[in-house]
């Protein structure tokens, strides 16, 4: 392992470790309306916004109102985005004179950005005007992570017996108190690293070989900042963070990697502060942390070991650098990719299609679990879902009705949580099955054999997990995929959020039972281990067959010198 790799990894992990507590506590303060440092400059601005929306900081909603507000707002955003993309040609800030977008792609893109997925069935620099990029897509990149954070905060308020709060207030506060301040700092740092921030037309340059080259630009630095801070992941350009315009240096790579994880990790601690169970929060951080490290190792070591076929030719000591950027190295690349899959961001700094089949298991692991901190808010909700299922399954073995935070888990909670769990494999497996069973689905595959299957599986996993990265290879621009993936993204996003809100409401109605030595403690290493094991087993049982047919089959074929 090179010194650069070690330092990069240590810096990233250390930043998460040192920010989790202060940032997590800060978030809890903001949403329990306690004084913070930013009150002075921001309160007047927020009050103006609240007045305009006709709400106050103290406004409260019922669970039903909160859920409906969430859905209604997202529907409005989606319809608005669809409309604005369709009429892009007549909108301002379009120096390249790009045309309006066709219905399937507009639906797919609107669904993709409103669900925080940022799956891109288009090339940004060839399809989107500046207006579409910053006024439509970048706007959604702020408000959609805010939606999930608001849902998680509402959930935590219910768990801790506080008032539900108001959806519009919460979303506003996520933007003003978290995303905007952080985005300003990150954007400035990226500009310092040479990322463009401009509304000028693309540059036509003459290269030293005498050719002409078009270099796209635009408001890229601000885009990059919120792309990563909100786990959006949609690139300004097609190559995303592998493009030097988006991610020019090893340092910018580090900044983007860290930006992805700050909020998701801190929100796990916010869970502890708001419910008064900090030790449980550390247990959950520990479990997610172990998965994060496993993903990192699973990505890094096989790639470092190199392609076995090339090794067999006697060319030892060559890492598999296909599709990777030399300026980040294997260390920087692997932690960026681990983060983008763990935090469900979906931006890429390398070509996922070019990884060895074994390493690609790490990508799938991140998308299947969808709770290795996950995207802000939704990752936490997914983790709690697994905690509830695990407590119910294992908790019976202590001879009491299982309890979570002192509340009994009964038919309603366990049914809802298991439905939330069911949704994820349902979308991935049914989507993949339909695609491989139909000629229009198979038409999108670039590579035959197991790799082609992996491409389709990846697309639906990415959509269901609201990750947004692609395995490439698959022609996502086919109308079939645009529509199917759009639908999967929408179901994957809202089903689990709404179901978990119902779980929260159901738990909120229950009286907490005081803890005794007869209570199964969830804030112990033992429970952490059990939770880890249960998550592994439940997911393995669900996804083992497709993993065997995709990446594993490809790995064995590769070892038998059969490539695709």
């Amino acid at each position: 392992m090179s010194t650069q790799t070690v330092i990069t990894w240590i810096v990233v992990i250390a930043v998460f470790a040192f920010t989790v507590k202060p940032l997590g506590t800060y978030i809890a303060k903001v949403f329990t309306f306690q004084p913070t440092l930013l009150d002075k400059p921001l309160t007047p601005i927020e009050n103006t916004i609240f007045r305009a929306m006709g709400v106050t900081r103290q406004s409260a909603m019922t669970v039903k109102q909160y859920g409906l507000a969430l859905i209604f707002t997202n529907v409005v955003w989606m319809l608005g985005a669809y409309f604005l993309l369709r009429v892009q040609g007549i909108m301002p800030f379009n120096p390249q004179h790009l045309k309006g977008i066709n219905p399937e792609l507009a639906f797919n893109t609107a669904a993709s950005f409103v669900t925080n997925t940022n799956w891109q069935a288009y090339s940004g620099e060839l399809t989107m005007s500046y207006f579409s990029q910053f006024a439509v897509l970048s706007y959604l990149q702020f408000v959609t992570p805010a939606t999930a954070v608001a849902a998680a905060i509402a959930f935590l308020r219910m768990l801790s017996g506080k008032k539900m709060g108001n959806f519009f207030v919460d979303v506003t506060l996520v933007v003003t108190r978290l995303l905007l301040p952080m985005a300003i700092v990150v954007a400035l740092v990226l500009v310092g690293q040479g990322v463009p921030q401009s509304l000028g037309p693309y540059l036509h340059l003459h290269t030293i070989t005498g050719q002409t080259q078009t270099v796209p630009q635009g408001p890229i630095a601000t885009w990059e900042a919120i792309e990563h801070l909100g786990q959006n992941g949609g690139g300004f350009t097609n190559a995303n963070s592998a493009n030097p315009l988006e991610n020019p240096t090893a340092f910018s790579n580090l900044i983007e990697t860290i930006s992805m994880g700050l909020l998701p990790v801190a929100l796990f601690y916010t869970f502890g502060v708001m419910t008064g169970r900090k030790r449980l929060a550390w247990t959950l951080i520990g479990v997610a942390g172990v998965f994060y490290l496993v993903m990192l190792a699973l990505l890094y070591f096989p790639e470092m070991a190199g392609n076995p076929i090339i090794n067999a030719l006697g060319l030892h000591g060559h890492a598999n650098m296909v599709g990777k950027e030399m300026r980040f190295g294997m260390g920087g690349t692997s932690i960026f990719e681990t983060s983008t899959m763990a935090f469900s961001t979906g931006s890429v700094a390398s070509a996922h299609d070019s990884y060895l089949p074994l390493s690609s298991l790490s990508f799938f692991l991140g998308m299947f679990l969808n709770m290795v901190f996950g995207a802000s808010g939704s990752g936490l909700l997914n983790m709690v879902m697994f905690v509830i299922i695990t407590i119910f399954l294992m908790g019976l073995m202590v001879g009491r009705t299982p309890e979570f935070l002192g509340k009994k888990i009964e038919a309603r909670e366990v049914s809802l949580a298991s439905i939330a769990f069911l949704m994820h494999p349902l979308l991935i497996l049914v989507g993949t099955a339909i695609a491989v069973a139909s000629p229009i689905g198979l038409a999108g595959i670039l590579n035959p054999g197991p790799h082609g299957l992996s491409e389709i599986l990846y697309a639906f996993s990415s959509a269901a997990a609201n990750n947004g990265s692609a395995f490439a290879g698959l022609n996502a621009g086919l109308p079939f995929y645009e529509v199917a993936i759009g639908v999967v993204m929408i179901l994957g996003r809202y089903a689990s959020i709404l179901v978990m809100l119902l779980v929260g409401a159901s738990l909120a109605r229950k009286r907490a039972v005081p803890e005794t030595s007869g209570t199964m403690h969830t804030d112990t290493v033992l429970f952490g281990g059990i939770l880890l094991g249960a998550i592994v087993v439940l997911n393995a049982l669900t996804f083992f067959p497709v993993m065997a047919l995709g990446p594993l089959a490809e790995q064995y074929l590769m070892m038998a010198h059969h490539l695709f």
């Binding site: 005794t516 199964m520 669900t542 497709v546």
Partner: protein
Amino acid sequence: MAAQEIAGQRSYTASILKATIRKLDPREMIHNPVMFVVELGTAVVVWLTLIQKGAADRNYDLLVAIILFLTILFANFAEAFAEARGRAQADFLRRTKSSTRAKLLLPDGTTSWVDAPQLTKGAKVLVEAGDVIPGDGVVIEGVGSVDESAITGESAPVVKAADDGVTGGTVLLSDHLVIEITVNAGETFLDRMIALVEGAERQKTPNEIALSALLGVLTLIFVLVVVTLVPIARYFGPHAANITTMVALLVCLIPTTIGALLSAIGIAGMNRVSLVNVVAKSGRAVEAAGDIDTIILDKTGTITIGNRMATEFLPVPGVTQEELAEASLISSLADTTPEGRSVVELAQDILHIKELPQYEGEAVPFSAHTRMSGIDLADGRKIRKGAVSAIRDIVEDPPAELEQNAERVAKDGGTPLAVEMDGRALGIIRLKDIVKSGLKERFNDFRAMGIRTVMATGDNKITAAVIAQEAGVDDFIAEAKPEDKIALIKKEQSQGKLVAMTGDGTNDAPALAQADVGLAMNSGTMAAKEAGNMIDLDSNPTKLLDVVMVGKQLLITRGALTTFSISNDIAKYFAIIPAMFAAVPELSGLKALNIMGLKTPHGAILSALIFNALIIPALIPFAIRGVKYRAESADAMLARNIFNWGVLGVIIPFIAIWGIDHILGLFGLA
């Protein structure tokens, strides 16, 4: 007799087998979604067997169909077996009931014979020595001894007098009673018991509903996994997905083990409660017993053996212990209370005499006014024993030691009795509550499990504190009135705790009803029995502790078998996935996953399926008896059970499937 027993055994077995077959009816099976999926799968494979053309494939399909069918039979058998155990008890009770005829008392005072089931509420019946009491009711006239062994198993007869409750099916041994029937036929205690042990009234308990829901969703997920696997596998070629193998995979993955045993666990739990002679009015109550946080126990009769006993003589200076003992003995000869008896016994011990001495004299009974009792002997001696303050007033210059000893006894939680003879103070008798043996250990167990025990007593604070400490309860309420118990229950419940209590008197009824688990004594009043949700036929309040254990064991057994069932799936994947794609050239590399080294693809699939079927009968003993349970903290128990059922649940099937594959190899099937 022996022949009868064998015949009974045979019909018992026959009824189990009959029920096993009857439960195959899909209309009944649909209540158990997991096994219903197995039944559907079996139907599919049977159909495939019938239309299959190649002989080798047909044999394979047939074998799969047979194993699937056996899996269902095993599941049905487990349930039928658990039900039959309950029914054996019910049949015994029913025999008592059906043969009963009653002498109905008509308004004119004459009687007429009617069948017991025709008796209605309010009817008065005459029961004479040797008659079976025809229904639940209250004695309104007469005194008689009743043999309740049919219900309680206890052979010693119980005396019943006016206002006592009697239970239908019990037998009057002596005298005659007039009984007013208080419950309509079909709703009597006996009827309820029969229905309960038979499982006819069995409703799913809250936890069982929750677990069923989770198992249902898990089954749905596996249906999804396998159904989508068909097109996904066919991506590699039209023959990559064999439907029979897909059904086999599905059945192996869905939680059949717990699905098959779930209702047997519930029925067996109820049976275990009735084995300790407690009748639970619902399964819900038994399950709630496992969740109990606080137990309220009456001191007298529950924690201590009914009465106080003399344990020590404390003479004043100048009096020997023997003198005091003798005086106490003489004064207590006429005292038939248990306390008086215990004074006599203690004195006999100290004086080393076996026979009771005879004295002439006149007994002076205890009166609330004098607060003392005693004897005026024919030889002129007058001996009195009683409350210290009362005795102090009638002796000349009471020595300081009398007062001191009395105070010491009181401070230790005992009751001091002073003894005097002819105006001279002799000393103090220490009366003490005796804690039942073995209770302290049980309370320690409860503490380890996080259950708080509270003792309720009418005694003063000091006495209560001492007994509480001696018995090892966590808390006590002294000078308790029935309202205090309700207040305590409500207070605990307001903190989200579940409370259990026992009671027998009518004034206990409101508290019994308020408690989450109320165990009424069979010897108690009808009101108490109606209010509680369990009745202890032996009238032994410490039974509550057994019920809590059964409740906990019920939940543990469900959790353990669920965990085991799911953990098993890992090994089945490693057996089936490499086997099912062995014939697909592109996927042949997956044979590397065959870490068990199973010989042939069909053999591997059959081995996994056979394991899946056999594990059900193998676990029936655990389902019926319950998983072993010991008192320890939740975390310790969790660690142990996770290892036993989770970790071993992953490992055992690897070994077992490998073993089955080798055995199949011997028959040329693998």
